[in-house]
């Protein structure tokens, strides 16, 4: 974030590129991609993820559940990784957040490597997402002291709740982009409490920006995410991040 905090709450930041369904993709792509980035992401692992598809046809509904292989490429310290799967590229950085100046080159590197191994025709979506985890020493916290975006509970309702989630989607760039902001309770150690502030800035529709301008968009998205983050917290929260 632009405001440099002593204790930044970012637990994960990621940039995802979802490619159009007409993009040619085969099983050799992850291997070719790995060859181009293995100096920086040498540890290769894989995961299986489940994908579900529904298709409504005149006479029936078809539900298909299938597995997709995703390759994970880690840096030696395992604090950054690239996920590559069918028509999907994701660059994740984990805490401690290394700063935008270090995260952005990782995104650029992965994006350029992908373009060297496949021909990109259309992008379905780009997203930049920051997940902040904020921990409190107390088990009960008055959210409005720390957040300018929180759950309001009327006086006629019980004032205690076991868990909560607040979510809104804000339009940006004249509707070209959207930012999903979610504040929710999270699991934590006993006698403490934690919330997750998840800011997910992404295209509102496929092909919103030309492929050649993808990285420009990512830079712009980062500025918007910073603004949204600062808009979600109070000065008291800033004081804690800097204490």
């Amino acid at each position: 974030m632009a405001a440099q905090y002593k204790k930044p709450p970012i637990i994960e930041a990621l940039c995802e590129f979802r490619l159009g369904q007409d993009t040619e993709w085969d099983l050799t792509v992850p291997g070719q991609f790995y060859e181009r980035v293995k100096d920086q992401f040498p540890h290769r692992e894989h995961r299986t993820v489940q994908v579900v598809e529904f298709a409504f046809q005149p006479q029936n509904v078809q539900q298909q559940i299938r597995s997709e292989e995703r390759v994970l490429l880690f840096t030696p310290d395992r604090k950054a990784l690239v996920q590559i799967g069918p028509r999907l590229l994701v660059v994740n950085v984990l805490k401690p957040y290394p700063s935008w100046q270090r995260f952005k080159p990782l995104i650029e590197r992965a994006w350029q490597a992908l373009q060297q191994v496949i021909t990109l025709r259309q992008l379905e979506r780009i997203g930049l997402r920051y997940i902040n985890r904020i921990e409190f020493e107390a088990s009960k916290v008055d959210l409005k002291v720390y957040f300018d975006y929180y759950l309001h509970v009327g006086t006629r309702l019980p004032q205690e709740y076991a868990s909560f989630a607040v979510q809104a989607v804000f339009p940006f760039a004249e509707g070209r982009d959207r930012c999903l902001v979610r504040l929710a309770s999270a699991e934590s150690e006993q006698q403490r409490s934690a919330v997750i502030l998840d800011i997910n800035y992404h295209w509102a529709r496929p092909g919103a920006v030309e492929i050649t301008r993808a990285l420009e968009w990512v830079e712009e998205a980062h500025s918007r995410v910073e603004e949204v983050f600062e808009g979600c917290i109070t000065d008291e929260m800033r004081r804690i991040f800097n204490s």
């Binding site: 692992e45 579900v52 299938r66």
Partner: protein, 180 residues
């Protein structure tokens, strides 16, 4: 583990569509049973009612698998608690999973298998930290009121369900009996 394809009859399909058009309605038992199993074990993002609703309008819908490691961990923790499994040292378990996300799809399998073979057991997910060397791994403890000659055999059967899958992972989870 999952059925590859589930085809509904035209009557079922119309019924589902009708319910979806009215929004927020329950899915047919046939669909929901399969989806519940899928949703539980795959921890996929998304509300299946809205996914189906979108499919009913556009003709097709494809789920987007989660790409955030942290979001997957949070969902896994919620699911673990819903299963009645105790979580100890949550912060350290989270740190471990952030480092070894290849365990995220193994843990539900380990818990389901252990639950199947020890339906009466109290399960606890914790982390083991070797005090002498820099080594740590996850531990799934099974605590029983009574132990007998079948306990070890059941433990081995429960472990067999996920041991092969662990062989090529960087992280590790150990199933063990809690004799305390």
């Amino acid at each position: 583990m999952f059925a590859d394809t589930l085809t509904l009859t035209a009557e079922d399909a119309e019924s589902v569509k009708e319910q979806l058009y009215q929004m927020g309605s329950a899915l047919s038992d046939l669909v929901s049973e399969e989806i519940e199993r899928f949703e539980t074990l795959s921890l996929v993002e998304g509300n299946f009612n809205s996914m189906l609703a979108q499919a009913s309008y556009s003709g097709r819908f494809r789920s987007e698998p989660e790409v955030s490691i942290e979001a997957e961990i949070e969902k896994l923790f919620q699911w673990i608690k819903e299963q009645g499994v105790a979580l100890k040292r949550i912060d350290q378990v989270r740190e471990y999973l952030l480092q070894f996300p290849d365990l995220l799809d193994i843990i539900p399998e380990a818990i389901c298998s252990t639950r199947k073979h020890f339906p009466e057991g109290q399960l606890t997910l914790d982390i083991y930290q070797d005090p002498e060397i820099e080594d740590q791994y996850l531990v799934l403890y099974v605590r029983l009121a009574h132990y007998d000659e079948t306990t070890l055999d059941r433990l081995q059967k429960a472990e067999a369900a996920f041991l092969d899958a662990l062989s090529d992972r960087e992280g590790w989870i150990q199933l063990t009996i809690d004799f305390r």
